[in-house]
Chain length 303, copies 2
């Protein structure tokens, strides 16, 4: 299948200026601008874990496969340039399935100016799995790392959180453009995207920076889907916002001055200040008279 499929894909792909030699040879050749670093990441999504082949559209699955990787580029403030796609799937309807997935990938790739610079299709006796490698570019020393947060930084979060299982985990917009605007106009000290849950990913950012955080839980933007899910399940919407994950929103640490300027700017995506970085390590909930320690996986009472 692969040769004829790649020929189809070659014709189907909008040609992008950075591609010197497209797919179809032993490898693709991509032009690279002077003085730019590569920012690279790989993520796999699998049927039954990250999506449901019998419920979700192939295009939505393809979108998610690329978008989770674009979210990593956003978290690094990198400009996505090229993606390589490895699809493993069962023999049954393999060509149609792969083509349907590529429709979603190509649409999202076109939206973000990403070239497909490699493809592999493997038929096997296993669940549909899509691994995408993304290659982005960054000016030297300009990529956002998890490790740059400083005590007294304000922590910002984009969008709203929780309840992603209802729709957002498949249909989200990776925050690439937001990151590009912030990078070009402001100074962000550290960033991470929320894939595994606000508290868990925030704990990673704190650990990498050697900081802690005092969160104002009442400031956390709880999504409508978190409210709906709370109603459905009789659970706390805030718990969904803190722990559900797959929000693919950005957590950004920056100085109080920069935070104030960012919050005054119109960036097209809501941003909310939800806490302050501290030199005391750990995750803390700031209440009027005391601090309560939070566990990365949920509340720990007392403290």
């Amino acid at each position: 299948m692969e040769q004829s499929f790649l020929a189809w894909l070659r014709g189907r792909q909008r040609s992008l200026p950075q591609v010197a030699v497209g797919i179809g040879d032993d490898a693709a050749v991509v032009d690279w601008p002077h003085s730019r670093q590569l920012v690279t990441s790989v993520d796999t999504i699998v049927d039954g874990v990250d999506f449901l082949l019998d419920q979700h559209s192939l295009a939505a699955i393809g979108h998610k496969a690329l978008a989770v990787n674009l979210s990593d580029m956003a978290a690094m403030a990198a400009d996505p340039v090229a993606a390589l796609v490895a699809i493993s799937l069962s023999n049954e309807n393999a060509t149609q399935t792969a083509a349907g997935i590529y429709e979603g990938i190509l649409e999202t790739a076109a939206e973000f100016g990403v070239a497909i610079s490699g493809g592999d299709i493997t038929c096997y006796d296993g669940p549909l799995a899509i691994s995408i490698t993304i290659i982005g570019q960054s000016e030297p020393q300009k990529a956002w790392l998890r490790s740059g947060a400083l005590p007294d930084d304000v922590l910002l979060v984009s969008g709203s959180l929780g309840g992603s299982i209802l729709q957002k985990h498949l249909a989200f917009t990776p925050r690439v453009r937001l990151a590009q605007q912030l990078r070009d106009r402001f100074k962000v000290n550290a960033a991470i995207d929320i894939s595994d849950g606000l508290l868990l990913d925030l704990d990673r950012l704190c650990a990498a920076s050697g900081c802690g955080i005092e969160l104002e839980l009442d400031k956390i933007p709880v999504s409508e889907d978190a409210l709906a899910l709370g109603e459905q399940k009789g659970s706390e919407p805030l718990e969904h916002a803190l722990g559900d994950g797959e929000d693919y929103e950005l957590l950004l640490s920056c100085s109080a001055d920069q935070a104030a300027e960012i919050l005054n700017a119109d960036l097209g995506v809501p941003l909310t200040a939800i806490g302050t970085m501290t030199s005391r390590t750990g995750l803390w909930s700031k209440l009027p008279n005391k601090l309560i320690r939070l566990s990365p996986r949920g509340f720990v009472h007392g403290g």
Copy 2:
């Protein structure tokens, strides 16, 4: 598993000068030299198809996963720089299995100066599958393509062919260093590596170049494993050399002058002239008094 595994891997990996930010953040950051193009490719290998988990060592499987990609870099005359590794495997002994595979990957990566600039491990209900994306560098317009062969070019092949199933498909040395020497000292017009079989891959090179080939079948270097396999199975060793595939040797098309110089040079790997490119398309066997047409998938008698 993934976080602690990536921490282990971070410690295990020899640091390479091109890695500005290693794995462990949302993405890795890789320095890139001025005026170099990216050469990119992705390949997946799967248990039961490309290796046998119950027979082959994990390190050998890891070596193969990277080496098939390095072979693509050789076929493009690109210098491999970085690789991203996505492993999907069942939950049982997942950490040990992944670590064993990485031992093989890291050893081969160190041998060729390749940084691991991304990793993803997914537990799922399917066969062990390893997708590796390789990123190489090339001077502009210097990558070897399949499409550059010219009529009257001499076709060279490295090493010897056939019987790879006995051992070579797992244990081969990708021809990266040979390609680098040839690129730096000679002019090669077109190249491809032999993954699916001499005739099939040669047919691809011919099709991309709009050429044909007159092969001298008696010149084709038949490997000892092709002879052994022929003896075992009562088959023709030459047929194994023509069709087995997974030789991961290079087919190189260059002018007669360059071919003569290359054959006189000591490059550490045997090279053999096996035919002449022609303006008449198709694969032909040159016999003293006639030409016999060959099918990419084996002999077609008459013609």
